[in-house]
C-alpha cells in the first residue's frame, strides 16, 4: 500500500482517537501502515451523523460526576408500595370500607376497576418493621433489603402521568408516553459514550422465569431519533448472549481470524481506491465484533464466581437468565466499565391474588438486589455506581375484585409509588416524601418521573436542561420542559 496515496486516510486518522487492536493482527498487504493509522482509538465515526461518536459529546460531562455508571433494576408491572414500603397501620380501621371520595377526588381509574360497584379499602396483610440506623420502614417481604436500608434513599412520593403499562413504562424510560423518543440510557450513551472498548455502552437484560406478565418493547432501550448506535444491546439468556455472537457451527476462532484478516485487506484496498473513511471504520467494527466474541462469553460465564458470592445472591444465582444471575452479570458489567446496565424484572402486576403473588416476586428479587449492593460495596464500585430500583407506577389501596381476610387485588395507581436510589451521588438512609393515610395522594415532596430522570442525569454529571438533541427543528431533552433535580437525595 502506498501511504502517499492515502491522504484520505490521514484525514481519517485525524478523526480518530487512540486504539490498539490491529497491533496483534499480523496482516500482510499494507497492514503495518494500516495498523499505524489505526493505533488511534476511534470506534464508530460515522460521517453521516456529524459529531456524534462512541466517545460522547466533547463538552460533557457538564460538571464532575459522582456516578460513572448506572444499574437500573426496573420492576415492570407496578410493584405495590402498600405491600413493600409505604406502611399504613391506620388503614386497618377502614378495612372493607369504600375508599372515601374525598381521597379519590374523581381521579380517573382504569377500565378494569372503573365499573366496580364498590372500592373496598384493603390494608396490606404484611407486617412492617424499622430497619437500620435510619429506621427505614420496610415490609417483612424484604428481609434482605432491610439489611442494606441505610444505603438506600427511598422516595415514597413518586408519581407519574400514566395509568396503563405501555404508556407508563414508555414514559418512565423515555420521558414521553408515545413511541419515538430516545430512552434514558441512550441519552446517556449519546452524551457520555462508552468506557469499554470491547463491550457496548448500554446493556439490557430481562429476567426469564418471572411470571409471564406485561410485555416489554424494543423502544424502552431504543434510541428514538438519536443514532441507532446508542440503543441498548439486549443480552439474551440463551446460547448467544448477544444476537449472532457465535460463529456458525464448523467455524472456529482461527478460521474467523484468518477471515477477518483477509476481509480487512480487501476492505483496505477499497479504501485506497475510494478514499471513504467509512470503510476503515467498518474494518474497526469487525475487529470490535471479534473482540466481543471473546469478551462477552467471558463476561457471562459465571462458573468462576466464588461459591460464597453465588450463595449470597441466593438459590437462583446458578440459573442463567434469572434476576439473581442477571444481578451478578450486572456487577460484572459494572466492573468492566459498561456505562448503563438495565435489568427488567416482570410480574409485578398484582390485579388479583396480590398477597401471594407479591411474596413470590420478592423471593425472586429481594436477596439478589441486596447481594448486588453488598458486592458493589466490597469491590469499591458502590461509590460511583448509581443503582435504581422501581417500576412504572404504584397500586391502588382499594381492592380490585373481592376483598377477603387473606386475599385482594390492586389496580394501577399513578398518583404515588415508591422507588429507591443508592450508590454514586446518593445519600443513603434517607426517606423522601410522604403519602396520605390511604397511600393514595402525596402530601409532601412530590417527585415526578422527570425529577427522577433529571436526578439520574445529575449524578452522572449531566445537566438535564443542557443535554439536548436537535430533531425536527427542536431541541429535545429527556425531561422535555420539566424536571427538578431531587437535591435531598444527593450526597
Amino acid at each position: 500500500m502506498n501511504i502517499e496515496m492515502t491522504s484520505p486516510l490521514d484525514e481519517y486518522r485525524r478523526l480518530m482517537t487512540r486504539r490498539h487492536f490491529f497491533s496483534r493482527c499480523g496482516l500482510g498487504m499494507g497492514t503495518t501502515a494500516l495498523a499505524a493509522l489505526l493505533k488511534d482509538d476511534g470506534l464508530a465515526v460515522s460521517t453521516a451523523e456529524g459529531g456524534e461518536s462512541q466517545s460522547g459529546l466533547p463538552e460533557l460531562p457538564h460538571f464532575a460526576p459522582k456516578a460513572k455508571r448506572v444499574i437500573y433494576l426496573f420492576q415492570s408491572g407496578g410493584p405495590s408500595q402498600l405491600e413493600l414500603f409505604d406502611h399504613k397501620p391506620q388503614l386497618e380501621k377502614y378495612r372493607g370500607q369504600d375508599l372515601p371520595d374525598s381521597v379519590r377526588r374523581g381521579q380517573r381509574l382504569t377500565g378494569m376497576t372503573a365499573f366496580q360497584s364498590s372500592f373496598p379499602t384493603a390494608p396490606s396483610i404484611y407486617k412492617f418493621g424499622q430497619y437500620g440506623k435510619s429506621s427505614a420502614t420496610l415490609s417483612e417481604l424484604l428481609p434482605h433489603t432491610a439489611k442494606i436500608a441505610d444505603d438506600l434513599c427511598f422516595i415514597k412520593s413518586m408519581h407519574t402521568d400514566q395509568i396503563n403499562h405501555d404508556p407508563a413504562i414508555t414514559f418512565s424510560l423515555t420521558g414521553f408516553q408515545l413511541a419515538g423518543r430516545p430512552s434514558l440510557c441512550s441519552w446517556i450513551a449519546y452524551g457520555l459514550g462508552s468506557e469499554n472498548k470491547d463491550l457496548p455502552a448500554f446493556v439490557v437484560m430481562v429476567s426469564v422465569g418471572a411470571s409471564s406478565d406485561q410485555p416489554l418493547y424494543d423502544r424502552l432501550w431504543g434510541s428514538g431519533f438519536l443514532s441507532s448506535r446508542h440503543q441498548g444491546v439486549k443480552f439474551h439468556s440463551g446460547q448467544d448472549p448477544v444476537l449472532y455472537l457465535s460463529n456458525p457451527p464448523g467455524i472456529n476462532n482461527e478460521v474467523r481470524r484468518r477471515f477477518l484478516d483477509d476481509l480487512a485487506k480487501l476492505n483496505q484496498k477499497n479504501a485506497e481506491t475510494f478514499g471513504d473513511p467509512e470503510i476503515l471504520s467498518r474494518v474497526s467494527q469487525y475487529e470490535l465484533a471479534y473482540r466481543m466474541q471473546s469478551s462477552v462469553p467471558e463476561l457471562t460465564d459465571l462458573s468462576k464466581e466464588p461459591e460464597k458470592i453465588l450463595e449470597r445472591y441466593g438459590p437462583d444465582a446458578r440459573k442463567p437468565g434469572t434476576f439473581a444471575a442477571n444481578c451478578i452479570l450486572a456487577r460484572r458489567l459494572a466492573e468492566r466499565g459498561v456505562r448503563f446496565i438495565q435489568l427488567f424484572h416482570r410480574g409485578w402486576d398484582q390485579h388479583n391474588n396480590c398477597p401471594k403473588q407479591i411474596a413470590g416476586q420478592c423471593r425472586n428479587t429481594d436477596q439478589p438486589t441486596a447481594a448486588l449492593i453488598q458486592d458493589l460495596k466490597e469491590r469499591g464500585l458502590f461509590e460511583d455506581t448509581l443503582v435504581i430500583w422501581g417500576g412504572e407506577f404504584g397500586r391502588t389501596v382499594y381492592s380490585q375484585g373481592k376483598l377477603t381476610a387473606e386475599d385482594y387485588g390492586r389496580d394501577h395507581h399513578p398518583r404515588c409509588f415508591t422507588l429507591w436510589l443508592a450508590g454514586g451521588g446518593i445519600k443513603g438512609g434517607v426517606t423522601i416524601g410522604e403519602t396520605d393515610d390511604f397511600s393514595y395522594n402525596i402530601v409532601r415532596d412530590p417527585v415526578s418521573v422527570f425529577d427522577l430522570n433529571a436526578t439520574i442525569l445529575h449524578c452522572l454529571g449531566l445537566d438535564h436542561t443542557r443535554l439536548t438533541y436537535k430533531f425536527q427543528g427542536r431541541y429535545f431533552r429527556l425531561t422535555d420542559v420539566h424536571g427538578d433535580v431531587v437535591n435531598r437525595a444527593l450526597a
Binding site: P8, E11, M29, A44, S46, A48, E49, G111, M112, A114, S117, D161, Q162, N164, D166, P167, Q177, A179, V206, Q214, P215, L216, Y217, D218, G222, R229, K234, H236, S237, G238, L243, Y244, G250, I251, N252, E254, V255, R258, F259, D262, L263, L266, F274, G275, D276, E278, R282, Q285, L288, A289, D411, H412, T468, Q472, G473, R474, R477, D480, V481, H482
Partner: protein
C-alpha cells in the same frame, strides 16, 4: 396530564420560527437566493443574505420568546414577521433601524455588556456566537433586507445557469450542479466505470444488484443509448415497485402489528401490495396522494381506491385493558396529522398541538383545523388485541376477487338450472305433496352446519356434532336425554327437576318453572379474537319459546351461574346468551360487561304467554353490525347496549345450557322447544323455514298459491332433500356446494383498515381550550380553492395543486435523498425555519416544477435524475474534497453510501440464487434467532412461527414486522421501527452489523448456496469460481491482488476443512435449503467461507 406528542406550553427549549402572517402578503415573494449555507470557503466575505444567514439565527436563538407563539411569548417584540420586527416600540425605539446598528435595539441588546440586559438571557441556555453577533450587526448595517421563508413560495423554473464546462452537461440538473461547483472552484468527478454504474442504478431503481448477465450485456453494449436502455429496463421491472415501497412503508409507518403493549397482529398487507402496484404502474404522484388520503371520497370509488386509504390507518393502535378510549382516539388523529404534514408538506405541525408553533407560522388553531379533516371516521380509541379494528373492509386480492366473481356466476347458473329442473319436476312434486298430506306430522329444517339440536320432546336425544377448532375432525357425538354412564361424568341432561312436557307449535315442548334447566356440556364453543387468533366465528341460535312473564330469563346461554355478576338487573357474566328481559329479547356476548362486549336487545316488546320463534345471529366478519335477531321470521330493530367487542367472550368453564345462565334468578320461566345451533350464518330462506311452525302435511294441505313464503320454502326444501328427481337433487346439491364455497371464500378474504367518512362530520375542538374549529388549511399556504369540497378529498387535491409550494418540493427532495443519501434539503422532514436551506435551491425548484409539469410522473423524474452526469459521477473521494465537503453536499462526486437493511439481505438472497421473487401477499417470517420473543412477550405470544421454505427467501419488504420487537437483522442496519412516520434514513456502522453478516443463518445459508453456485457455474478453476463469486455480489471481477487474497483464503479454508470434515459438514448444515452439488463437502465448505467473505465486504454492502 402530559400526553401530547408536540411540545409543551411552557416550552422553553422549543424555539420559534419565521412567519409571514398576513402582513407579509404585501411584499412580493422574492426569488430564492442563489447562495446557500453549504460548505464554502468564501461564505463570510459574501453579502449577508437574510434567508441564508439571518433567519436561522433569529429562529434558533430568538423565536422562543420573540416568535410566532405570541400568546406564550415573554415579550411583545417579535422577529418572525417583517411588520413586527420593524415596528415602533414606543419612546422612539425600534428593534431594527435599517442601516443603523447603533440605533437598533436588537444590536444594542445582543452586544450589551450588562448581563441583565443582554440577549438571549443567560437562563435561556442559548448563546450567540461572535460570528452570529457580527452577522446580525452587519445585516442591519447593510440595510436589513427581509425575505419570505423560501419554502412557502411557489417554486419557479429558472433558466439553466451559464457554465464554463458546457461539454459536461447532459441535462438541466447538471447545469445547476456544475454552476455551483464552478462557483466553488471545484470540478465534477469523472464518470463511474460501467460496472459500478449499473450496480448503483440497479440498486437505486430495483433494490437489487445486477446479475452477471445484465452486467455483461451493459458492458458489451457500445450504443450511445446503452445506459438509458438499462434505466428503462429497471424502471419497467416489477422489482421497481418493491424498491420504491421500502421507504414509502417507513413514511407510512406500515407494520404487521398494533404496536402497543401486547402488540397483536393486524392485517394491512393488502395496502402494501397496492403501494407496490401503484409504483409499478407509475400512478401519477398527485393521484397517488389523492387516493391514499381520500380514495374513499372519490366519486364511485373502486375497491383499489378504497384500499389506498389504509395509508391513514397504519398508525399504532392501543388495546390495553383499562385505557381511556377517547385519549387514544385523539392520538390516532394526531398521528395522521403529523404523518401527512411530514410526508407531504415537510412540516413539523406536531409542535402546534399544544401551542402555536415556536418557529413556523402555524397557530394551534390551524393545527386542529387540519386535525378536523382526519377525525371524522367511525373508529374506536381502543383496538382489538388481534386483527383489524373498525373501520375495516374486506379487501380481496385480485385473485380472490376473480374467484368470487367466478363463484357468483356459477351460483347464478346453478340457480337457473335448479329452477329449470324443478319446473320439470312439478308433477312429481305435487304427487309427493299428496302423499304427505296423508302421512303423519313431520317437519323439515336445515341441517347444514347444524352443530346442536334438542327437540325437547319426550325421549328426544341431544344431537351434537361439533368440529373442534384444531380442525381435527372428531366423530359426531349423540347423547341421550338420560345420559349413559360415561356422560354422567359430563353431567349432560336435565338439572334441578324432571322435565314436564306441554303442547307447543311443533308438538311438545318442555316446561321450565324457574329451576329446571338442561345442561348440554362444553359444546357450542364460539369466540371472537384472542391475542394470537381471529376465530372468524359465525353462528346462529334458533329456538321456540313461551315466556311466562316479562322477565322470563335465560333461553340458551353459555354463561356461568355467578350471582354476584348482576348489574341493573341484568346478568353480566362472561359468555354468550339469549335472554328474555323486560319483554324483549336480549343477545349478549360478554368478555367484560362494561367495556368489552357486544350487547343488544330488541326495540319492540313481545307479548308474554305466547309462543315465539327466535333466531339470534352473531357474525364476527362484520365490522359494526355483528348481531341480528329475528323474531317469528322478522328481522328486529335493535337497541345497541354496547358494541365494543375487542377480544374473547367465550366462557370455557361454563356449559351450554337451555333455560339457565347468568345466575339462579335467570332460570327460565315458561316453555322452550326445538333448540338448534348452527355454526354458520343462516340465509334468509333458512330463517324463514326455521320460524315456520307448520308441518309438511299441514303445508301440503294448503293449495300452493295460498302458501306463505316460509311454507313454500319449507316444503320445497323437503321435496328437494327427500323426493325430487335425481337431476333436481343434483342441481340442488351443486348449488349448495357452491354457496358453501362462496361462504368459505368470503371468510378467507383478507381485510384492511381503511378510511371511511362519517355521514355527519364529527366536531373537532381546539384541545385543551375547548373551542370548536372548522376544517381549514394553514393561512401561510395558499388558500383552498372554492371549487374544492372542504373535506379530506378537498385537502388531498389542495396538496397537489400547482400553487401549493410544498408537496412537489418535499417529494422531489425525498427522491433525491433516496438516490444521493442526502436530500438537497438535508432535513427532509423539516422545510420550516429550523430546517436546513436547500444546497441547490434553483435545482430543487427546477425539479419540483419539472415533476408537476410532467404530470407528476414518478418514473420520469427518477429517469431524469439518474440520466444526469451528476448522478453518474464516480464516488471516489480525494482528500481535499473529503475535508471540504465530507457529506457530498456540493455533488462533486457520485453517491457512496451503505445499502439499507433490505437491500443487504436481498442482495445475498439474489446472489446465491435463493431469492423467491413473488410479488405481494401475506407477510413472511424468515430466519430469526430462537427465543427472541420469549423474554419480552406474553406467554401465548412468544412463538415465532418461522417459515419452512419459500417465506425464508422472499424480499425483505415482505418480512413480518412486529413493532415492539423489530426483525433483528433489519434493526441492526438502522431500519425504522415503524412505530411512527420516518422520512430520513440513518446509517450507522457497528459491531452488531458485523456479527449479523457473519453469523446470521440467513447469510450463512446464502453463502453456502452461493458457494454451490460458484462451484456449479464458475467453471473448474478456483480463480474463475472466485471471480464469479465477486461478480455475483460486487458486480465486478477481482483484480490480481484481490484474487491473491481470496485464493489464499480459499487455500487455508480447504486445508482446514480437509483436516476437519465434521466441521465442514456442520457448516453445510446451516439453513434448510439442501445443498445440491457434486463437489466434496470440504470444498463446498471452503467456498462457503469465501462466499461469506465476499458478502461481508464493505464494497458489497455499499452502493458506490
Amino acid at each position: 396530564m402530559h400526553r401530547f406528542r408536540g411540545t409543551h406550553l411552557k416550552c422553553l427549549i422549543c424555539l420559534a420560527a419565521s412567519t409571514f402572517g398576513l402582513a407579509a402578503l404585501a411584499y412580493p415573494p422574492p426569488v430564492r437566493a442563489l447562495q446557500n449555507t453549504t460548505p464554502s470557503g468564501a461564505a463570510s466575505a459574501r453579502r449577508i443574505d437574510f434567508s441564508r444567514d439571518i433567519r436561522p439565527i433569529l429562529s434558533d436563538k430568538c423565536f422562543a420568546c420573540h416568535g410566532p407563539d405570541a400568546p406564550n411569548n415573554k415579550s411583545p417584540l417579535r422577529f418572525d414577521t417583517e411588520a413586527h420586527a420593524f415596528a415602533d416600540l414606543g419612546e422612539g425605539r425600534q428593534a431594527i433601524v435599517r442601516g443603523h446598528p447603533e440605533q437598533s435595539e436588537l444590536v444594542r441588546r445582543i452586544t450589551a455588556e450588562n448581563e441583565s440586559l443582554r440577549m438571549p438571557p443567560v437562563y435561556s441556555t442559548h448563546k450567540l456566537t461572535k460570528q452570529e453577533i457580527d452577522q446580525l450587526t452587519n445585516w442591519v448595517a447593510q440595510g436589513a433586507q427581509w425575505q419570505q421563508h423560501w419554502a412557502f413560495t411557489a417554486p419557479v423554473r429558472l433558466p439553466s445557469p451559464a457554465v464554463k464546462n458546457r461539454a459536461w452537461l447532459r441535462n438541466s440538473i447538471d447545469s445547476f450542479v456544475l454552476a455551483r461547483l464552478e462557483q466553488e472552484g471545484l470540478k465534477p468527478a469523472e464518470e463511474a466505470d460501467r460496472a459500478t454504474l449499473i450496480r448503483r442504478v440497479s440498486f437505486d431503481l430495483t433494490g437489487l444488484p445486477p446479475t452477471p448477465q445484465e452486467i455483461d450485456a451493459f458492458l458489451n453494449d457500445r450504443s450511445p443509448k446503452a445506459y438509458e436502455k438499462v434505466v428503462d429496463r429497471l424502471l419497467a421491472s416489477p422489482r421497481h415497485g418493491e424498491r420504491m415501497a421500502f421507504r414509502w412503508l417507513d413514511a407510512a409507518r406500515y407494520a404487521d402489528t398494533n404496536g402497543y403493549q401486547l402488540d397483536g397482529e393486524r392485517e394491512m398487507w393488502r395496502w402494501r401490495d397496492w403501494v407496490i402496484e401503484a409504483f409499478n404502474r407509475n400512478l401519477p404522484f398527485d393521484q397517488f396522494v389523492i387516493e391514499q388520503l381520500a380514495g374513499d371520497l372519490l366519486p364511485n370509488p373502486t375497491l383499489e381506491q378504497r384500499i389506498a386509504t389504509a395509508f391513514n390507518r397504519n398508525h399504532r393502535g392501543n388495546s390495553e385493558d383499562g385505557l381511556v378510549p377517547e385519549e387514544y382516539a385523539v392520538e390516532y388523529v394526531v398521528d395522521r396529522v403529523d404523518t401527512v404534514s411530514t410526508v407531504f408538506l415537510g412540516l413539523t405541525m406536531g409542535c402546534a398541538r399544544c401551542h402555536n408553533h415556536k418557529y413556523d407560522p402555524f397557530t394551534q388553531k390551524e393545527y386542529y383545523q387540519l386535525y378536523a379533516y382526519f377525525n371524522s371516521i367511525p373508529e374506536d380509541g381502543r383496538f382489538a388485541n388481534f386483527g383489524n379494528s373498525r373501520p375495516w373492509m374486506p379487501a380481496p386480492t385480485r385473485e380472490q376477487e376473480q374467484q368470487l366473481r367466478s363463484l357468483e356466476a356459477k351460483i347464478a347458473l346453478a340457480e337457473k338450472r335448479l329452477a329449470a329442473s324443478l319446473k320439470e319436476a312439478v308433477p312429481a312434486e305435487r304427487r309427493w305433496e299428496k302423499s304427505l298430506a296423508a302421512s303423519e306430522s313431520r317437519h323439515w329444517f336445515p341441517s347444514d352446519s347444524l352443530i346442536l339440536h334438542h327437540a325437547l320432546d319426550q325421549n328426544a336425544r341431544l344431537f351434537v356434532k361439533e368440529t373442534p377448532r384444531s380442525n381435527e375432525p372428531t366423530e359426531p357425538n349423540e347423547a341421550d336425554v338420560n345420559p349413559p354412564k360415561d356422560e354422567k361424568k359430563l353431567e349432560i341432561g336435565f338439572k334441578d327437576g324432571l322435565p314436564q312436557y306441554a303442547a307447543s307449535p311443533l308438538g311438545k315442548g318442555v316446561v321450565f318453572e324457574g329451576k329446571l334447566s338442561f345442561d348440554a356440556g362444553t359444546v357450542a364453543t364460539f369466540d371472537y379474537r384472542d391475542r394470537v387468533h381471529d376465530f372468524k366465528d359465525q353462528f346462529a341460535i334458533s329456538a321456540w319459546f313461551y315466556p311466562e312473564s316479562e322477565n322470563s330469563g335465560a333461553l340458551v346461554t353459555r354463561m356461568g351461574e355467578n350471582v354476584a355478576e348482576q348489574e341493573n338487573n341484568l346478568p353480566k357474566g362472561r359468555g354468550y346468551g339469549v335472554f328474555f328481559v323486560n319483554g324483549k329479547v336480549h343477545f349478549n356476548l360478554v368478555g367484560v360487561w362494561a367495556d368489552d362486549s357486544f350487547r343488544v336487545e330488541t326495540e319492540n316488546t313481545l307479548p308474554i304467554r305466547r309462543w315465539h320463534h327466535v333466531v339470534a345471529v352473531f357474525d364476527s366478519l362484520q365490522p359494526y353490525d355483528k348481531v341480528q335477531i329475528y323474531v317469528n321470521g322478522q328481522k328486529q330493530a335493535l337497541k345497541i347496549n354496547n358494541n365494543r367487542l375487542f377480544r374473547q367472550f367465550a366462557n370455557n368453564d361454563a356449559h351450554l345450557r337451555l333455560g339457565a345462565g347468568g345466575g339462579p334468578q335467570w332460570h327460565f320461566k315458561g316453555m322452550l322447544d326445538e333448540v338448534r345451533i348452527y355454526k354458520a350464518l343462516p340465509s334468509p330462506e333458512q330463517i324463514a323455514i326455521l320460524s315456520c311452525p307448520d308441518s309438511l302435511s299441514q303445508i301440503a294441505a294448503i293449495p300452493p298459491q295460498m302458501r306463505s313464503e316460509a311454507q313454500r320454502l319449507k316444503i320445497r326444501n323437503a321435496f328437494l332433500d327427500e323426493a325430487a328427481p335425481t337431476t333436481a337433487q343434483r342441481e340442488w346439491n351443486a348449488l349448495h356446494e357452491l354457496r358453501q364455497q362462496k361462504a368459505a371464500l368470503e371468510a378467507s378474504i383478507v381485510t384492511l383498515m381503511v378510511m371511511q367518512e362519517l355521514p355527519r362530520p364529527r366536531p373537532a375542538f381546539l384541545l385543551n381550550r375547548g373551542a370548536s374549529v372548522d376544517r381549514g388549511v394553514p393561512a401561510v399556504l395558499p388558500a383552498m380553492q372554492e371549487s374544492l369540497t372542504n373535506n379530506r378529498l378537498g385537502l388531498a387535491r389542495w396538496l397537489v395543486r400547482p400553487e401549493n409550494p410544498l408537496t412537489a418540493l418535499v417529494t422531489v427532495n425525498r427522491f433525491w435523498q433516496m438516490l444521493f443519501s442526502n436530500g438537497l434539503v438535508k432535513t427532509s422532514e423539516d422545510f420550516g425555519a429550523q430546517g436546513e436551506r436547500p444546497s441547490h435551491p434553483e435545482l430543487l425548484d427546477w425539479l419540483a416544477v419539472e415533476f408537476q409539469q410532467n404530470g407528476w410522473n414518478m418514473k420520469a423524474l427518477l429517469k431524469t435524475i439518474v440520466m444526469s452526469n451528476t448522478y453518474r459521477q464516480s464516488s471516489r473521494i480525494n482528500s481535499e474534497l473529503l475535508q471540504r465537503d465530507p457529506d457530498n453536499r456540493l455533488l462533486a462526486r457520485g453517491p457512496r453510501v451503505r445499502l439499507p437493511a433490505e437491500m443487504i439481505r436481498d442482495q445475498a438472497l439474489l446472489a446465491s440464487g435463493l431469492l423467491v421473487e413473488e410479488l405481494g401477499g401475506p407477510s413472511v417470517r424468515p430466519y430469526q434467532p430462537e427465543g427472541l420473543y420469549k423474554d419480552l412477550l406474553f406467554s401465548n405470544m412468544t412463538k415465532y412461527a418461522q417459515d419452512k421454505s419459500k417465506g425464508l427467501w422472499r424480499r425483505s419488504l415482505y418480512t413480518f414486522w412486529k413493532r415492539t420487537v423489530n426483525p433483528p437483522a433489519m434493526n441492526v442496519f438502522d431500519a425504522s421501527s415503524r412505530e411512527y412516520c420516518m422520512v430520513r434514513e440513518t446509517r450507522t456502522n457497528t459491531p452488531l452489523q458485523a456479527l449479523n453478516l457473519m453469523n446470521d443463518t440467513t447469510y450463512v445459508e446464502a453463502a453456502r448456496i452461493m458457494a454451490q453456485r460458484m462451484l456449479n457455474e464458475g467453471g473448474t478453476k478456483p480463480e474463475d469460481r472466485i471471480a464469479l463469486g465477486l461478480r455475483l455480489a460486487a458486480g465486478r471481477a477481482p483484480d490480481e491482488k484481490e484474487a491473491q487474497v481470496l485464493l489464499g483464503n480459499l487455500q487455508s479454508q480447504l486445508e482446514y476443512f480437509q483436516g476437519h470434515p465434521q466441521e465442514a459438514a456442520q457448516l453445510l448444515g446451516v439453513g434448510v435449503k439442501p445443498s445440491e452439488t457434486r463437489q466434496k463437502t470440504e470444498e463446498l465448505a471452503a467456498y462457503a467461507v469465501i462466499a461469506s467473505l465476499i458478502l461481508n465486504l464493505d464494497e458489497v454492502i455499499t452502493k458506490q
